[in-house]
Symmetry: C2
Subunit: 340 residues, 2 copies
């Protein structure tokens, strides 16, 4: 396949035109010190005139770095693509990365073939580090990246594992404080709609719910727990079930704002007033939470901070070589609005 681009000027040509040496042009391009201002200007003009653009392959080869990091989304979480959490995370990573001069490359890995291809891409040196969206417990990708000694940071743990760097929100604490708040308000029959329980984050939120009940000396009943898959529809269904099982229900912690929105609809359909009859708390604090009726109380995940922390950890690993694993758990915040 002949996909060459014709007649691109090289560093050498720029140097010739500006009447200087290659080294000087390189210094100007990389904003390195030690170039007289007048020289710098002359070089800049030559660059302009020739419409010179550095060849990144050559730079990579000589400089042994790619100036790019990959954000990998694996199949199981592919659906998260269609969720606000994902686009918010991408946005925040982009912001955090924006002044490092590195490109953020989003890659999806849906099959083993694609996993393999990405691995070759990464091991081949096209990226300096990898950010991984919470992968499933069984996924070998993080280990493969570690073997290749590629700096890697996970978003969200997969379990209690330690041998990988990750950034996560304090899901347990967030859920616990939300439920405690409900109990403090005098709610006594508090249910929870969980996320898919094969996800560690969902397990943590459930644990937080249970801890709060225990702390208050209450016994968590099995029948007050319903599982959802984070969608509004499943939230609606779970809520309807809960109402049926416990007509006296007066508080709910949902696995996400989307789920909570579904729950609100089910409550409305059942003729329950929110927050008078039933208080509802969501999770995430997406923009959606401000557009429900009533506006949703929720546990805020610090998305900006998550993005910043991930980038920081990755840069640190890149700096020092992947010699240690770093973990950051970020505090969540209870945002009270109208639904409690």
């Amino acid at each position: 396949m002949g996909r060459r681009r014709p007649g691109t000027p090289t560093l050498e040509e720029v140097a010739a035109r500006a009447g200087v040496g290659r080294g000087t042009v390189s210094r100007v391009i990389n904003n390195a010190a030690g170039v007289k201002e007048s020289t710098r200007r002359a070089v800049r003009r030559a660059i302009e005139e020739l419409e010179y653009v550095p060849n990144l392959a050559a730079r990579s080869l000589a400089g042994r770095r790619a100036d790019a990091v990959a954000l990998v989304v694996t199949e199981p979480d592919w659906r998260s693509f269609a969720e606000p959490f994902f686009s918010e995370i991408v946005r925040s990573l982009g912001d955090a990365l924006s002044d490092t001069g590195m490109q953020l490359l989003l890659t999806l890995v849906r099959s083993d073939a694609e996993r393999q291809r990405f691995l070759e891409y990464a091991r081949g040196g096209r990226v300096d580090g990898v950010l991984l969206l919470s992968v499933r417990a069984g996924d070998r990708l993080p280990d493969m990246l570690a073997e290749a000694r590629l700096p890697t940071v996970l978003l969200g743990r997969r379990s209690g594992e330690e041998y990988v760097s990750y950034v996560d929100a304090d899901n347990i604490g967030g859920a616990r404080s939300a439920v405690s708040q409900l109990l403090r308000q005098g709610r006594r029959v508090v249910a929870t709609i969980t996320g898919p329980l094969d996800m560690y984050a969902a397990q943590c939120r459930l644990r937080g719910y249970q801890e709060a009940l225990t702390l208050a000396g209450l016994e968590g009943e099995q029948t007050l727990v319903a599982e959802s898959d984070f969608t509004a529809e499943s939230g609606r269904r779970a809520m309807a079930e809960l109402i049926e099982r416990h007509p006296d229900i007066d508080g709910v912690l949902a696995a996400s704002d989307t789920t909570a929105a579904g729950a609100l609809e089910a409550l409305r359909a059942a003729g329950r007033r929110v927050p008078e009859d039933v208080a509802v708390i969501g999770f995430d604090d997406f923009p959606l939470a401000q557009r429900t009726t009533p506006r949703l109380s929720t546990v805020r995940q610090p998305i900006e901070e998550i993005g910043r922390a991930m980038v920081r950890l990755l840069l640190e690993e890149m700096e020092e070589g992947a010699v240690a694993w770093r973990h950051v758990i970020l505090r969540t915040e209870l945002v009270l609005r109208e639904s409690t």
Copy 2:
């Protein structure tokens, strides 16, 4: 920043170990012909033993190609990230690209700084071609890419422009056939909920709607047209308005399935039966269309084909150098389910 990876074996080392020359190893790696089977095996073993991975920067530099293409999403369409259309397109592009050995890199461009950075990345030769999600009319990115002579294919036109390659669905024809179908069923007060009218695709669908009415000798009334922004919520609102303005309404073409879903809710709330009182047709045929009650008739966009066509055009441009603009308009298909 010292982000080097240590002690990676090189082609040369593999060659030495296998007792052959560099050229031969290269041929084996690239599956080129002209290597004796026994030699090939020996080389493969050496590669295995050394865990050799080709350095892609070196390959790029020597081979003058990147083996990667970028899919760029610009800010105005950023929200489409959260829409099924987007994830479906990405999926289909990934499939179409999968046996070319090229990496699909998703990039988002939200600001001028990011636009500039991406341009340097692309012009720097890190990708061989660029796929652009339907950008707004004013965006200069396609022109900048064209100037840099980078093979580029747009998804969706921005207007009537010709000087760029694109793949698009026949939005006009799709809308027209949907409305014609409604009229053929005896519907007489047919409305449409459009998408944002600063998007060319939305304009086209509106045009198709109008053409069908004209064709049937009917006059399209202004008041039968309501604008939405593709979300369910705005669809609901638009539908409610339309009912108010035209209580005798008996048919609706929505701008998307999502919008249609919102419209269905509004109709239900207003006590109209679908399809007995009002027939509804959506657009896109996303999975969602099969999960509404009643299941949605819709105009199917051939997403698989769109993805394949985009990749095909891009490969052609890469092959021949961007010397011509290619346009592909794909036929849509009316899928009749329960809502008509």
